[in-house]
Symmetry: C2
Subunit: 269 residues, 2 copies
C-alpha cells in the first residue's frame, strides 16, 4: 500500500486494511451479558470455532479472549456484547495472507428495551441466496439482511421472515423461526443458507427433554402460515411468540409456553 | 454503544462502528491510475452510482470525490486506486440508520507486476450463491471470492473460474470470462450472481464496433471447455488470453487478438 485517505484526509491507519472491511472476511457473535459474564459463552465460542474452521481463520486464544470479554463486561448487570473476529490485515486481493493475524473487536452496548406489543412479522421480498459454503455460520457478509431489514419502517413490526430463492422459509433477519402444527414442531434446515442460532440449538435440545416432536426441513411460506403456533428465537430475545404475520393472527399455544418456561432459567442465577 | 475494545485495548475509535466492517454494507471500485488520473473514471463512477441505488446508499459528492482521488493519485504514472464506499456508522442491528453518513476510503497501491507466463485457470469448487438482489454490483460481501481464491496456492495459476449453484460458468474470482466458438463470442449473463465488470462492458461495446457476434447466457462448464478461444477481463488486466484450464490448452485466436488491439489504447495517452 502506497497511501490511504479516509473522507478526504490522508490516513496511515493500517487497520483500514482489515479484510473484515474489504470483504466481510470474518465472523461475529452477539451475546447476552448477565452480571459481568456471558451465560452462553461456551456455545458462542463453539460456534465461533466452527466458523473459523469453515473460513480457515486462525482461532484466537480462548483464555485471552475470555479475559478481554470479562474486562469489558465487568460491572454490567445486563448488556449486549458483540464479538467481531476478522481475518486481519491484508494487501489488495482475495488471496488469504500467509501470515494473517486475526483482529478481535468487542462492542458492549445496552440491553434492548423490552417489546411491549404483540410480535408482528413482515414477510421479506429480499431472499436468501443459496450457498452451502457459507450456510450456518455467522459470517460478516450480511447485505441480504440489511436489504431485508430495509423493507419496513413500521415500528409495530419487530422482525422479517426471510425465504430462500425457492420460496422456502429459512429464518428471520436476526432470528430463527419455529412453528407448531398438530403437536409437532418445525424449523428450517440450514445446509444451503441461514444462520444456525445458539437459541435454535437450545430449543432443539429442549424438545428432547420435553418430549416434543420436531422436524427440520424446507417448507414454503404457505405451509408455515397454517401453523397453530409460531415463535422466533435468538440469544437476546430467547423465545418470542409471534402474534401476527402480515394481518393473520396466531395465538401463543402450549408448545411455545412450555419451551419459554424451560428456557427462562438460562439468564438467571 | 457503551464501550469498545480492539485486540485487548480499550478503544473509542467510532469508525469501528462502520457498517462496512460489521455487515459488508458498502461498495468498491478497483481502478487503473495513469499519469495521476483514472482513465475509466466515468464508468467506475456510473457503476458506483448504480450500486448506491441498489443498496440505498447516499451517493458521495462527485466533485469532492474527484478532488480526493486526484490528490491521492497526483504524481503517479501508473498505480492502482481502490475506492471503498460504506454506508457509514451505525448502532447494533441491520436497520439502516436514518442519518447514515457514508464513509469513503481510498487506497493507492503499486501497479501489479506483469504476468510473464501463459495464463492458467483453476476451476473452483466454491460456487456463487444465487441472489438477484446483489447480482451485478461490486459490493463488499466477498467471502465467496475469498474461499474460491483459497483453493489454489500454485503461482502458475492466475485465476479461478467460478460457477453458480447450477454449475453454469459465471466469472473469475476477480475477472469476467469470455469464450469464442465458431466465430461467436459468449459470456455469462449476470442477473443472478457475478459482478458486471467495466472491462466486460467495454468488450461488449467493442464487439459492436468490430462486428463480432456475442451472446450472453448461462452455460455449463463443459460447454465453455469446448471453446476455440478463452479470455478473462478486468480493469487492471484489460484482456488476458487464457492458455490453460486445468491441463487443457487453448490458443489465443483472432477474436481475442482483435479485442486486445481495439482496447489497448484505453490506458495510453
Amino acid at each position: 500500500m502506497l497511501k490511504m485517505m479516509c473522507n478526504g484526509r490522508f490516513d496511515d491507519n493500517s487497520q483500514w486494511l482489515d479484510r473484515g472491511l474489504h470483504y466481510g472476511d470474518g465472523l461475529f457473535e452477539t451475546m447476552a451479558v448477565r452480571d459481568g459474564g456471558i451465560p452462553l459463552w461456551n456455545r458462542h465460542w463453539q460456534r465461533l470455532q466452527q466458523g473459523c474452521q469453515r473460513l480457515q481463520i486462525t482461532s484466537p486464544d480462548k483464555a485471552l479472549l475470555e479475559t478481554e470479554i470479562a474486562t469489558l463486561a465487568r460491572g454490567y448487570g445486563q448488556a449486549v456484547m458483540k464479538l467481531l473476529l476478522t481475518r486481519g490485515q491484508g494487501e489488495r486481493g482475495y488471496r488469504i495472507p500467509a501470515q494473517a493475524q486475526p483482529n478481535r473487536y468487542l462492542f458492549l452496548s445496552s440491553w434492548p428495551d423490552p417489546v411491549n406489543t404483540a410480535v408482528r412479522l413482515h414477510v421479506c421480498e429480499t431472499r436468501l441466496g443459496l450457498n452451502p459454503a457459507l450456510a450456518g455460520i455467522k459470517h460478516l457478509n450480511r447485505l441480504e439482511q440489511v436489504l431485508a431489514r430495509s423493507e419496513w419502517q413500521d415500528p409495530q413490526i419487530q422482525e422479517g421472515i426471510m425465504l430462500d430463492q425457492n420460496g422456502c422459509v429459512i429464518e428471520g433477519t436476526m432470528s430463527n423461526i419455529f412453528w407448531a402444527r398438530q403437536q409437532r414442531l418445525y424449523t428450517a434446515e440450514l445446509s444451503q443458507c441461514g444462520v444456525a442460532g445458539i437459541m435454535r440449538e437450545l430449543v432443539m435440545e429442549a424438545t428432547q427433554t420435553l418430549n416434543i416432536s420436531i422436524q427440520t426441513g424446507l417448507w414454503p411460506l404457505s405451509e408455515m402460515m397454517q401453523a397453530d403456533e409460531i415463535f422466533i428465537t435468538n440469544s437476546l430475545i430467547c423465545v418470542w411468540p409471534v402474534r401476527y404475520i402480515n394481518n393473520k393472527e396466531y395465538i401463543p399455544g402450549p408448545i411455545t409456553k412450555k419451551l419459554q418456561q424451560h428456557l427462562q432459567h438460562l439468564y438467571e442465577n
